[in-house]
């Protein structure tokens, strides 16, 4: 059954166009007085909300031993197949007898789903708030164990970007 749609007939008030103009301008004026959301990025860093899934890190115990036991649960859970681990006997006397000799993450393959940190039985792998880790070559974007431990040192206080913002020179 056909539906008859009547087109809207503008009234005299509509035909003046001034009220619509004012209404539109009101939105602009309202936002003019609101808090700014634009960030001057390289001079100022956006602080991601809690739970943001960025660059990975490998956690350490306070005494310096690496938490990872190379169980390869993360690489088994990884849907992008980007985690490559070579296990070996750990060099420490205390604690678990197994640790990762190599631990490589291909950041170009990674889809940052966070399955690895969910699968980890030792709470060793975690995704941090770091989002600016671009580089020039593919090889440089494969992060190894030392790199992941370095990320831990950078992010263990959870204030990576606020620290960065504080250390920035105030812009004129």
């Amino acid at each position: 059954m056909a539906t008859i749609i009547k087109s809207y007939e503008p009234t005299f008030w509509d035909k003046l166009y001034i009220p619509a103009l004012v209404k539109g301008l009101m939105v602009t004026i309202k936002h003019f007085f609101r808090r700014k959301v634009t960030i001057q990025y390289p001079d100022e860093y956006h602080i991601p909300p809690e739970g943001y899934r960025g660059l990975h890190r490998l956690n350490k115990f306070p005494e310096g031993r690496i938490k990872c036991v190379a169980c390869e649960m993360c690489s088994a859970a990884c849907p992008a197949d980007c985690i490559h681990i070579i296990p070996g006997p750990s060099p420490w006397d205390e604690g678990n007898e197994r640790y990762p000799v190599r631990f490589d993450i291909d950041l170009l393959r990674c889809i940052f789903c966070g399955f690895c940190e969910m699968a980890c039985p030792e709470e060793a792998i975690e995704l941090t708030e770091i989002y600016d880790f671009s580089d020039y070559t593919r090889e440089d974007l494969i992060i190894d164990k030392d790199g992941l431990l370095e990320v831990f040192e950078l992010t263990k206080d959870q204030k990576y970007y606020s620290r960065k913002n504080d250390s920035q020179e105030p812009q004129k």
Binding site: V69, M73, A76, G88, P89, N96, E97, R98, E122
Partner: protein, 529 residues
């Protein structure tokens, strides 16, 4: 024959069969730890408890036998025994037993090498409780070496005593025993006699949990990363059936595969750790032709053409040398190429070892001497007389990469030759005296059949990818045959060579991959079960 009823299934069984065996044969799962088909039954783990009607308590199914009962005492008028494996009582009992077993278990699956093939893991997941009520401290002990290759983690041990019974019954060496009582019980090795026999590696396989570990595999990889390929051990003429576990181009471990006609459930440590020999060898991966004192790499076409030119120049007067390490198909192809003037490389001899259980390590450490003699018979003495009589100056040798000390006989043979073709995968003494080296495959890359000393043909399957420019040994011979004679048959697959071999050699007429399967084919015409 007694009629047994397990759950809803009615089964006719032989009198004297156990409930556990019957259930397993009929696809009913009864969890168990201490029971192993090759070992004496002890019934110590209590995991296989089932309810038998008419018996006051739950019974261990591994040690409960089915027998005929008096017609008046049959259950429901016809069953000799009625067993329940799934009712509430049994399910609750399994939960309780698992709770006991897990009291002192560290639950360190992420660190444990058994994870993924651990019965404690599987059964806890399937039958156990999700939580433990044990609030006290767990008993913690440090790892100990039982022998040079076996380490025990006492925390994970559930004291099923499979390993202890193995050393008593299978290897007959009795190094292991259960020490102390109660809370302090542990498996230990005699101080003056550590677990260092040639079957020691098996205790790590039969351990249902991760307590006994082979130092060779510990902390190397995870079981789910590895590709499992059923194959045959190539370290002696017994031909134990094995599973080869590999990842990309590296072998991580070998485990025995059940075959009652050959090796039962076990294998020896010579074969188990034998794959390490091939890890760091200097491979020949390019066809090479001698120029002066050195070798120069060539393309396959050129190398084959050079070989064939020389073989044609010899005018059919070419000697062939087979090897007891190569597959039947490779040796057979060499037989097609040379006209009856055949010799063979010697076998490597070792010590013959017999165990009380019947397990055997043959003194002949080459895997396929029997098959070589079947498909391409020849011996060195005949070869020498043939060479002298017919004035042969060209020889084609299938080398097997084994370092041999050449005696005077071989030195005199080689000195008489103008042209030596050696097909090999590494630079042996023999290869160094060659004029042309054609790169073949290393043992774990080969495919084909080998015949063990009991006359059983078994399927050797490749577990590693082919390296470099190497080609399958039968394929190299086929290329040479084709270049020699344009009417020669082309084989696209090793199974076609097998078929051809069956046509020429009556004993091998039934040999095909389909007939061989996992268990092999006895040449007496009796296919295995």
């Amino acid at each position: 024959m007694p009629l047994l009823k397990i759950d809803d299934k009615e089964i006719q069984v032989q009198s004297g069969a156990t409930v556990l065996e019957t259930a397993e044969a009929n696809g009913i799962e009864i969890p168990h730890y201490c029971y192993h088909p090759a070992l004496e039954v002890v019934g110590s783990c209590r995991m296989c408890l089932v309810q038998v009607e008419g018996m006051p308590k739950l019974q261990v199914s591994c040690n409960t036998f089915v027998g005929d009962v008096h017609p008046d005492r049959k259950v429901d008028g016809k069953y000799d025994m009625v067993v329940h494996t799934q009712n509430d009582l049994v399910v609750q009992e399994r939960k309780n037993i698992l709770e006991f077993l897990l009291l002192n278990h560290p639950l360190d699956c992420p660190v444990c090498d058994q994870a993924g093939e651990c019965y404690l893991q599987d059964y806890s997941f399937k039958f156990g409780n999700a939580h433990s009520r044990f609030e006290e401290n767990k008993r913690v002990r440090s790892n100990e070496y039982l022998g040079s290759q076996i380490v025990i983690n006492h925390n994970r041990c559930i004291l099923c005593s499979r390993c202890v019974r193995f050393t008593q019954e299978i290897s007959g060496t009795s190094e292991l025993f259960v020490e102390a009582r109660g809370y302090n019980t542990k498996v230990a090795a005699l101080e003056e006699k550590p677990l260092d026999n040639l079957l020691a590696g098996n205790v790590a396989d039969i351990c249902p949990v991760g307590a006994l570990l082979s130092t060779d595999y510990i902390h190397k990889n995870r079981i789910w990363n590895l590709k499992k390929q059923s194959s045959v051990c190539q370290d002696c003429s017994v031909g134990c059936n094995v599973d080869v576990f590999s990842q990309t181009n590296q072998i991580f471990r070998l485990t025995p595969r059940e075959n009652h006609d050959v090796n039962g459930y076990f294998m020896c440590d010579i074969g188990r750790y034998g794959f390490h020999r091939f890890e760091e060898i200097e491979r020949v991966t390019q066809p090479m032709i001698r120029e002066g004192d050195s070798f120069v790499s060539f393309e396959w076409e050129e190398a084959i053409q050079e070989t064939v030119d020389r073989l044609k120049r010899a005018g059919g007067k070419v000697a062939g040398v087979t090897s007891p390490y190569h597959t039947n198909e490779t040796n057979f192809m060499l037989g097609l190429m040379v006209d009856g003037i055949l010799g063979n490389l010697s076998q490597i001899d070792g010590e013959e070892i017999n165990y009380p259980s019947g397990f055997r390590i043959s003194s002949d450490r080459s895997p396929n001497r029997n098959g070589m003699n079947d498909v391409c018979p020849g011996n060195v003495d005949d070869l020498i007389s043939d060479i002298d009589e017919q004035n042969i100056r060209t020889i084609y040798i299938l080398d097997d990469g084994v370092d041999r000390d050449f005696d005077e006989v071989w030195k005199s043979i080689l000195s008489k030759m103008d042209f030596v073709v050696v097909q090999t995968y590494r630079m042996t003494m023999l290869a160094q005296s060659a004029n042309i080296i054609l790169p073949g495959l290393a043992p774990f890359e080969r495919e084909g059949t080998i015949t063990n000393d009991g006359g059983r043909v078994q399927w050797l399957r490749p577990s590693l990818p082919i390296k470099g420019e190497s080609r399958a040994d039968w394929e190299i011979l086929m290329m040479a045959l084709k270049a020699l004679d344009n009417n020669a048959q082309i084989f696209t697959d090793v199974s076609q060579v097998m078929k051809k071999m069956g046509e020429k050699i009556p004993a091998y007429k039934d040999v095909s991959f389909f007939n061989l399967g996992d268990k092999g084919l006895s040449l007496n015409g009796i296919a295995s079960k």
